[in-house]
Amino acid sequence: MNRRLLPYLLLAPATLFLCVFFAYPFLMVAGEAFSRDGQLTVANFQDMIGNWKFPATLGNTMLLAGTVVPLQLIMALGMASVVTHLERGRGAILYIFAIPLGISDLAAGIIWLAIFEQSGFLNSLLTMMGIIDKPIQFLGYQNKMTIFIAVLIAELWRATAIVMVILVAGMGLIPKEYNEAAEVFGASRWQRFIKVTLPLLRPSLQTALILRTILAFEVFAVVVALSGTNFPVLMGETYHWQFELQDRNVAAAFAMLILVISIGFTLFFTKALNVPKEARI
């Protein structure tokens, strides 16, 4: 076996897989987004943007991603710090934190629906404790804010663990010496976290943020389960155009928009949290 060829041969199956299941479908979707009845056109994008629901859809998705991701980052940093500093029971805590990861997003949506709906657990609990006389309609169409909060809570519960797992791994890679040195010079816990841990965690933060932001723009099942069509998001509209309105071209246009946004954020995080090669641990 030619040693120079070996790496390429080993990469070939994965490359082939990506070409068949990613590149090819991507090209097909891109083709559909920019054509209609065989004609090259931007009409699909005009239809998408011209739809009366589009501003709300884009706004909701941005709002959700813009709230969920920072909150998750803060929570995950806290959780990861706790887990890293634990002397005993570290594995157990990590597993408990990661339980929601094992649940499909639709199932997560349904769990939270059972909590928030009119005759759900939250209303029953509040009624039982005598705080309210009759059920509150958390998920009614006129309570956009409570729908948003419900989706936010469900998303935080469901997907914070993935950020945490990445950060725990990253924190494990930071050599203890840096922290100990800072401690010797009298840095407080907070100062050590800000000045030592965070900067050294940049590569992991970058991975976590890119992954989580892309997922945030693909949020779908949780929103559908909790809000139906009351809180339209980009992925939900893509599904709606594809399967209910049976217009593949406009659905493809939505998919392209999500792709562009995802690429934009990926580039931003790659640049903003860049760690030069020579500065890596």
Binding site: W52, Q137, N230
Partner: protein, 421 residues
């Protein structure tokens, strides 16, 4: 010796296969898709047929693809087709004339027989079963009925007054519409609300009468449980007690009525100035020209229309008979209740049947979306009725032109695409 045995066994096997292939009629259907219904179709409905039937339910897409492929190739294995009225329109030329089939003296609903001609002189399909949408109420709501109102001939104004009285009496709105993502609200707007005021589903979409219809609906909406935008099947909130008065497809109310038959009543949809509009869902059976065994297929079609089969079908699928038949007393309570409501609705003097959209093909989803968008913008978004109707009418007009779909009942027949005034 051994060789001869093997040969014989092979021949016997081949004969056996040939035998089953001949005797079994493939029933290719878009109906009774849920596993339980499919099983009931096989075990209870088709078991009584003298020949063998292979009942195969399919989604509309694969259903159509296979029948088109078979008719293009000129040979097929499908014996009998079962589908909604609208599904047969696209394959009208591939269906045999069923007017010669001996039904053994069964009296079939004449309106539906007419529909089965699909505008030709041949009987393209025979009506098989029907369903529609009705209203259902918790008996606790009945004392709130407005004075002088007869539940079997309500008007929209009386319904509004009723829902208002319940909301005021109980402290929270208890009327319900299946306005969730999986709910059939569009059917309510297309086949009930709008035609009741305008006598039309498409042509008078933005007329002054349509504006009135939406104003009335907005008025009603004040007394509708706001959670309606999450409801798919009204039987669920009705059983939970969140909703007392609801509109939905009979099959989507059945669980509530069957679970506590003494608590619920079913009744006809309300009437507006133009009549008591309702949307019947007609399912038919047809035979493709490529059927492998025409005689067996015709026998099966005739069997499907026998009164006893119709009752078995009703039990299996909750779809109602299209032939004259006395319902036995051992029917599930939902069937009894909705059967009476359907009879009262279709038999009322002001009845105005509004058919499911026809000839839209894969634009059906967008057609429904026009009505759903209109609802979301006017009622949920609070936008101006007239300008929303003008805007959505433009979409509707374009859809009709793209689909090149002529008008269907209750709109007057049109040459070319159905116009939107």
């Amino acid at each position: 010796m051994r060789k001869t045995m093997r040969l014989l066994a092979g021949a016997a096997l081949a004969l056996g296969f040939a035998g089953t292939a001949q005797a079994q009629v493939l029933f290719w259907s878009t109906q009774a898709k849920p596993v339980q219904e499919t099983q009931a179709m096989r075990d209870q409905v088709l078991a009584g047929f003298s020949g063998k039937v292979d009942y195969q339910p399919q989604d509309d897409g694969p259903w159509l693809t296979r029948i088109q492929a078979e008719s293009e190739s000129g040979t097929g294995s499908i014996g009998v087709l079962g589908a909604l009225h609208g599904s047969f329109l696209g394959i009208s030329d591939d269906l045999t004339d069923l007017s010669g089939v001996d039904l053994g003296g069964v009296k079939v609903n004449a309106n539906y027989m007419d529909l089965g001609k699909l505008g030709s002189s041949e009987q393209k399909y025979l009506p098989w079963m029907q369903a529609t949408y009705v209203m259902a109420a918790n008996k606790k709501a009945l004392p709130y009925l407005p004075d002088g109102a007869d539940i079997n001939s309500l008007s929209y104004d009386q319904l509004i007054a009723w829902c208002k009285a319940i909301a005021e009496g109980e402290g929270s709105p208890k009327c319900g519409i299946p306005a969730g993502p999986k709910g059939l609200k569009h059917r309510f707007f297309e086949g009930f609300l709008l035609p009741s005021y305008t006598g039309s589903m498409v042509t008078k979409f933005r007329s002054a009468e349509a504006v009135t219809a939406w104003e009335k609906f907005k008025e009603l909406w004040q007394y509708v449980n706001p959670n309606s935008t999450n409801y798919g099947f009204m039987q669920e909130p009705m059983l939970a007690g969140d909703v007392w008065v609801a509109f939905d497809h009979v099959a989507r109310l059945a669980d509530a009525i069957n679970n506590s038959p003494d608590d619920f009543v079913a009744f006809p949809a309300p009437a507006g100035p133009a009549g008591r509009a309702f949307m019947p869902v007609v399912v038919g059976v047809a035979i493709p020209k490529t059927a492998p065994d025409m005689a067996a297929a015709q026998k099966l079609v005739a069997y499907m229309l026998q009164p006893s089969t119709q009752i078995a079908t009703l039990k299996a699928t909750n779809f109602f008979p299209v032939v004259d038949v006395d319902l036995p007393s051992d029917m599930p309570p939902s069937v009894k209740a909705s059967g009476d409501a359907i009879a009262a609705m279709s038999g009322s003097p002001d009845a105005l049947p509004a058919l499911l959209p026809i000839g839209l093909g894969d634009l059906g989803g967008k057609f429904n979306q026009v009505y759903v968008d209109t609802f979301e913008r006017i009622v949920l978004g609070g936008q101006d009725i007239k300008s929303v109707l003008d805007d959505e009418a433009g979409q509707l007009r374009q859809l009709m032109i793209d689909a090149n779909a002529p008008c269907w009942q209750p709109d007057a027949p049109s040459d070319g695409p159905c116009p939107v005034d």
